[in-house]
């Protein structure tokens, strides 16, 4: 259980979806710099530990999971990490409320490097919300997040990551998900605050028959921010299905919105949708959708559209008596509307609350 002092400390984490009271959470994990402050379980079906504790306690984690997703893609990863969470839901168990995790950068020029592992065993189900943020003092800090997700047969993982950094911080999440037969991996990513640089290209390997992957991203960029953010799905077995949906919004920063669907098996389907709005003159959005197949019998497609808020839409709302600025704000909120992303209610409510706060402050 959290004591009162920790609760007060954690209050500032609310802007990244953290629920201090934990009333509608199955458990919580909080790490500040490289120190794990909390690994708290509220529902018995889930295990939450620091990665170091998990490796020590469970040999199968060290031997069967740690680094294995990266090895599968032949990718190297930083071994010099400290902390990170281990979350596991056992076979057939369903976790009612989301688990929440928070990674906080607390001090100046700190390099936070974490390694996270999430395991959803056969037929199990988990919603996970991870908030990553920084305190006012964390000038020129750096965050590296290595994450490995294992969704076993018929498992379900809905992973939401909310980034809320500050303008002199650099961030490099590196994530790979492995999804087995009938498994579902859903990733929801939101970046809401100024940041110096974010570079990420998470990948889901849909290696099981009829496995599914979906990436939803909402990216907001401010002046002097550089966000090179993509999502990749490798459709590696028959019946695999992937969707990538992104919404990019530039108030002056640069967004590289990437997406990559790669079919390495026949009889797979995928769709990629990337839409961007450039709100101010200096905003830059570069959408790079990629489709690739090694087989003839696949259905993969993409649509991309970038531009400004349509004057026709603003004028339409203005003709109802809505001031032009308010009309623009409503259209932008609508553009980011999480309903487009098909999120589950519990996650949607959380994100709507956060976006409402942010857009009210921004416009």
């Amino acid at each position: 259980m959290q004591d009162r002092k920790l609760k007060e400390e954690f209050k500032k984490l609310e802007e990244v979806g953290y629920d201090v009271e934990e009333k509608s959470r199955a458990g919580s994990f909080v790490q500040e710099n490289d120190k794990v402050l909390l690994a708290d379980i509220k529902e018995e079906n889930v295990e939450i530990l620091s990665i170091e504790d998990a490796i020590e306690k469970f040999p199968e984690v060290r031997e069967g999971y740690f680094g294995k997703a990266f090895e599968k893609l032949g990718k190297d990863y930083d071994k010099d990490t400290k902390g990170g969470y281990f979350i596991r839901v056992k076979k057939g168990k369903k976790v009612l409320f989301p688990v929440q995790a928070c990674l906080l950068l607390k001090t100046r020029r700190f390099k936070q490097k974490v390694h996270n592992i999430v395991i959803v065993e056969e037929g199990a189900e988990l919603y996970l919300i991870t908030g990553c943020t920084s305190s006012k003092a964390a000038d020129e800090s750096y965050h590296l997040g290595i994450s490995e997700f294992f969704v076993h047969k018929n498992g379900f993982l809905n992973f939401t990551m909310i980034h809320s950094w500050k303008k002199d911080i650099e961030v490099e999440p590196k994530s790979i998900a492995i999804v087995e037969e009938g498994g579902v991996f859903i990733s929801n990513y939101m970046s809401f605050k100024p940041v110096r640089r974010i570079e990420m290209y998470p990948t889901a390997i849909l290696e099981g028959k009829n496995s599914r992957g979906r990436f939803n991203s909402i990216i907001i960029s401010y002046p002097e921010s550089y966000q090179d953010i993509g999502s990749r799905a490798i459709l590696a077995e028959k019946g695999a299905l992937a969707e990538i949906v992104s919404r990019a919004l530039s108030f002056g920063g640069t967004i590289i919105a990437r997406g990559h669907l790669k079919a390495t098996s026949p009889e797979v389907k995928g769709h990629l949708e990337c839409k961007g709005l450039v709100i101010t003159e200096k905003g830059r959005i570069h959408a790079i959708p990629e489709l690739e197949t090694l087989f003839q019998d696949v259905e993969i497609s993409h649509e991309a559209a970038i531009g400004k808020v349509k004057k026709e839409e603003i004028e339409y709302l203005a003709s109802k008596g809505m001031p032009e600025e308010q009309a623009q704000s409503i259209i932008i909120r609508g553009f980011m509307n999480t309903e487009i992303l098909g999120l589950p209610d519990i996650i949607k409510k959380e994100i709507d609350r956060i976006t409402k706060n942010l857009t009210e402050k921004s416009f």
Partner: protein, 240 residues
């Protein structure tokens, strides 16, 4: 209520669409405007509300005796001008209910109009997205009536709408007009809406000018009989 004096409007490419047009609509008066495609009818409505892309080269627009051409679109709406657009835009993520709630705080009124116009299930839909022609028109009328303007500008309210929907819309609009003293400008091609609304006056626009003015049913009958070609020759120089 509305007075337009010697209005000349040009499009972005510089071509003149409205040419020295003058028009008056009195308080509580319902004016029906006929005219072939491309004659400038929709431009007139867009110019009155202030939609971009049309520049006033000459002339003035007065609403309640005040010049409005320098007001923003939302300011014109706030002083009492409302438009039912012929081709409203689709706005993803913005719900019909959100707009309705902006226009009218009382949910009872919103749901009552939604019920009357068969729009209840559309309230939580993105406005105009995947709406059929008839649904768009009903949605436009719904918003317009919630706005409660003093001057209603209806741009082809019945185009693309089946008879059943015209009947629904016509009855709701007629009831509204009976209970509210509004001025109305209706642009119509088919004249079907006139079966439900008793207009005071009709006019025909040809090539950016009002070329005749008479009783609406008489004009409509003549147009049905002889088409628009005759309008220009037989009815010119009639006072607006």
């Amino acid at each position: 209520m509305l007075e337009i004096k010697n209005l000349t409007v040009v499009a972005e490419n510089g071509s003149e669409i409205l040419k020295d047009l003058s028009l008056k609509i009195g308080k509580g008066e319902i004016l029906v405007m006929f005219g072939p495609n491309g004659s400038g009818k929709s431009t007139l409505i867009k110019t009155i509300i202030g939609i971009s892309g049309y520049k006033i080269k000459k002339g003035n627009i007065y609403f309640d005796s005040k010049e409005i051409k320098n007001l923003s679109i939302s300011e014109r709406a706030k002083i009492g001008i409302g438009v039912m657009f012929q081709q409203p835009p689709e706005i993803s993520g913005v719900k019909l209910y959100q707009i309705a709630k902006f226009l009218e705080k009382d949910d009872n009124v919103i749901f009552e109009y939604a019920r009357k116009l068969n729009l209840t299930e559309f309230l939580d839909r993105d406005v105009n997205v995947d709406f059929s022609g008839g649904e768009r028109k009903r949605s436009e009328l719904f918003q317009l009536l919630l706005q409660k303007p003093k001057l209603l500008l209806l741009d082809e309210p019945e185009s693309g709408v089946d008879i059943e929907n015209i009947s629904i819309m016509g009855k709701v609009l007629d009831e509204f007009l009976k209970n509210n003293e509004c001025s109305v400008l209706i642009i119509t091609h088919t004249g079907y809406i006139l079966e439900y609304i008793s207009a005071d006056r009709g006019c025909v626009m040809m090539n950016g000018r009002i070329c005749c003015s008479d009783k609406p049913d008489k004009i409509f009958r003549d147009i049905r009989k002889s088409g628009y070609e005759k309008c220009e020759v037989c009815r010119c120089k009639i006072e607006n």
